[in-house]
Amino acid sequence: MNPPASLQNLIEALRILPGVGPKAAARMAYHLLQRDRPGADKLALSLNRALAGLRHCRLCNSFAESEICELCANPRRDPALLAVVEMPTDLAMMEAAQTYAGRYFVLMGRLSPLDGVGPRDIALDRLIERALDGVVREVVLATNFTPEGEATAHTIAALLKARDIAVSRLARGVPLGGELEYVDSGTLAQAYRDRRSL
């Protein structure tokens, strides 16, 4: 026996979430309808509001409720520094570190050659336009330290250096408070390669 059509539609809809298979989607649907109807209502409303109200900030490409987001509109942020991150979660992590005082550009992805994600699928053209506003002096590449993040950083560096913008990359090495005993071999090998003289 099939569940009613609207229930089936809900289960199908939940399956678009990453990592959610048919069983997990069914569990979510039953939970929302049976155990938490106010929560379900709130979810539906927030989803609708977010879809209607959010857009990409004209300057940093992250999500914003207005044309320019709060961070980009903040006059105390150094306009000569531009950090490039893959996702808004990475921006949040940089902010939590409380040391970077410049502005951001969020790619909303990374180059992933084997998945067919190319320069047209992330906002590279908009980044170049943003970096060439005449005010930005240095672009800090804070993409992930995965082969895809590295390929993205290399590509951006090549494009910007050709246009005379200084480009830097986050350093990598042993984490703060890291005891060598617990550091993975790849990180340790890299920390040795990038060692500095004292």
């Binding site: 990592g19 050659p113 047209r120 390929a151 590509t155 993975d184 090998a189």
Partner: protein, 239 residues
């Protein structure tokens, strides 16, 4: 109870990986004795997973898995070290090697010779600045030979007559070297065919013609599938 079909400490590389369920990864592996193998690394996306940082391409690993069928279970990966991370153009070239292996080699066929060539090519890429083209041509040719698509370059397909350096020929995919007037096929000089057969990639003309020939053969054997890494390079050139 012991795990079925265990393979332990098998030298190999990760070619590519993608997220699987909440916290796991599916890794496409290229291993020395088992060829291409797909395996799920359970929990590898958890922050403290020991596998997390290791399931990355371009690093030699010792891999341990069990199970049979399409998807094995990868339970351990040990860092082998000795290879600097690829960067810049060498990194893009590394992606290209991986895409070729993923798209042209079938799963679960051992290719020990090609594995050695892959390992050696990555080492040269990691060793840093050097000409990429000869490395890529050598790998493409090794791969095509291994899967039987460029078996004989120094003799004509039908007559078995040796190729002469001074003459011109055509290479017909799936068939072999034919005389120049045979019509269809990729035009190529005798000199280039003999150089390729001998693994000599020094001459600029050999590199140029060899690139053209290998590109056409790869295109033919991909059966219309696009090579994303090549598209990437084209798109980047247009930015």
């Amino acid at each position: 109870m012991t795990a079925p079909h265990p393979v332990n400490h098998q030298p190999g590389f990760v070619l590519h990986s993608h997220a699987y369920k909440e916290t796991s990864l599916v890794a496409e592996l290229f291993t020395r004795d088992y060829g291409r193998v797909a395996a799920v690394a359970r929990g590898a996306r958890r922050p403290l997973s020991g596998l997390r940082g290791l399931i990355q391409p371009f690093h030699p690993l010792l891999l341990s898995w069990y199970g049979r069928g399409e998807l094995r279970t990868l339970h351990a990966a040990e860092w082998q070290g000795g290879l600097a991370p690829l960067s810049g153009r060498a990194l893009i070239a590394g992606f290209y090697l991986n895409e070729l292996v993923l798209k042209l080699l079938a799963r679960d066929d051992p290719h020990e010779g090609l594995y050695a060539l892959y390992d050696q090519t990555l080492q040269s890429l990691a060793a840093g600045p050097g000409a990429l083209e000869p490395l890529l041509r050598r790998f493409e040719l090794g791969l095509l030979k291994e899967i039987g698509y460029a078996a004989t370059l120094d003799r004509l397909a039908v007559s078995g007559e040796p190729v002469s350096a001074a003459a011109c020929y055509r290479y017909q995919p799936g068939h072999g070297v034919v005389p120049e007037d045979a019509g269809a096929g990729i035009a190529v000089s005798g000199r280039t065919l003999l150089d390729l057969a001998a693994g000599e990639f020094a001459a600029p003309a050999t590199l140029g013609e060899g690139k053209h020939l290998m590109r056409a053969l790869i295109h033919h054997h991909l059966g219309g599938k696009a090579l994303y890494t090549r598209l990437l390079l084209q798109e980047l050139a247009e930015l």
